[in-house]
Subunit: 206 residues, 2 copies
């Protein structure tokens, strides 16, 4: 695992999204000040973030937009596409599968799994929902890069164990559960209830 702070990675992702906007608008060069302004940070921060990865841009001339975008895509691992499996075809899982932002970028949902007989066999965005009992068999035959867990809390750990056993190296977990995975598996948690509870805490008077 490379030792780049997560906050740096997030800013690089943001810079890339701005650069891609500039590309669409036909802008050829951009200054660190312009990137900083869009990202609500400082130009010193922008230059520092980019300096981790070698020398970019020319003093006084700014950065070449397509060149910097291409370099950031490569640094961020966004010069290829990723195969995602989604486990859980409830409301949130369905919304994620149909999230245009994913496929427009680098993430392709290749399969969806559920344990509900009423859902299995139905199609979601053109992809047939499969029996979660077939997850291991499926991944054994057609490996995936990223597993997205959108199940209730209870089955989440066993789903994660199955993903890990079938060589999935990155998991995005929406289940309200603390998952345990080996150190070489990347795990990110999005817990919507915890986000709201954190807001409630700031609103609370005690």
């Amino acid at each position: 695992m490379r030792r780049i702070a997560e906050s740096t990675v997030r800013r690089l992702s943001l810079y890339l999204s701005f650069l891609e906007e500039f590309e669409t608008q036909g802008t050829d060069t951009v200054s660190s000040e312009a990137l900083a302004l869009r990202g609500r940070t400082t130009s010193a921060q922008v230059r520092k973030d980019l300096s981790h990865f070698g020398s970019f841009g020319k003093r006084g001339l700014g950065y070449g937009v397509p060149q910097l975008a291409e370099r950031l895509r490569s640094i961020l691992g966004l010069d290829r596409r990723y195969r995602m499996v989604v486990i859980g075809a409830g409301k949130l899982g369905s919304a994620l599968v149909q999230h245009r932002g994913f496929s427009e970028r680098w993430f392709d949902v290749v399969a969806i799994f559920d344990n509900d007989p009423a859902k299995i066999g139905r199609a979601l965005d053109g992809i047939t929902i499969l029996d979660v009992g077939r997850l291991e068999e499926y991944l054994g035959q057609t490996p995936a890069d990223i597993g997205v867990i959108v199940t209730p809390a209870d089955p989440a750990q066993s789903v994660a164990d199955l993903l890990v056993a079938t060589k999935v190296r990155a998991i995005l977990n929406f289940a309200p559960a603390q998952l345990s995975v080996p150190h070489d598996v990347a795990l990110r948690n999005v817990n919507l209830s915890l986000e709201l509870e954190a807001l409630a805490f700031t609103l609370a008077d005690y």
Copy 2:
């Protein structure tokens, strides 16, 4: 704003969810070790987290489950309900409105807004979708605690400005945009693309 680390608040939220499980199971007392085990942390951490808020439990006897749960609900601001407005009735917004976890806890969606004439007037989970042009008027008459922004990036800042102007003090933002809000407004961002990009970064070889 109270100076409790966000990581502490998150752990308190987790402890509360475990305590509520224990309550359901009829368990009367729980040790810091048991809470630590469920939360994948240490009993020393549990005791430290709880010590911020005064003395709980008795040495050797553990914590009273209902008492500690009630105290945590109060600390976390979860002894009342919060009124949420959701702006954006797309796939993700609709999934959030129908998220059972929210209403089971402390968060009630009181209104949904969109700018799409095809959606305005339709009902989502029994709540009629209103014209976003009426957001300011609505909030002027019926204040809300939390605004949930599930729009595309472009209109997100102007929606946030409207929420702030109508005294919404907490915003949960799903739009892929960096929002600017006054210091006394709590803002949390959930950017699903950034989460996936962070995973891609760990998968990348460069």
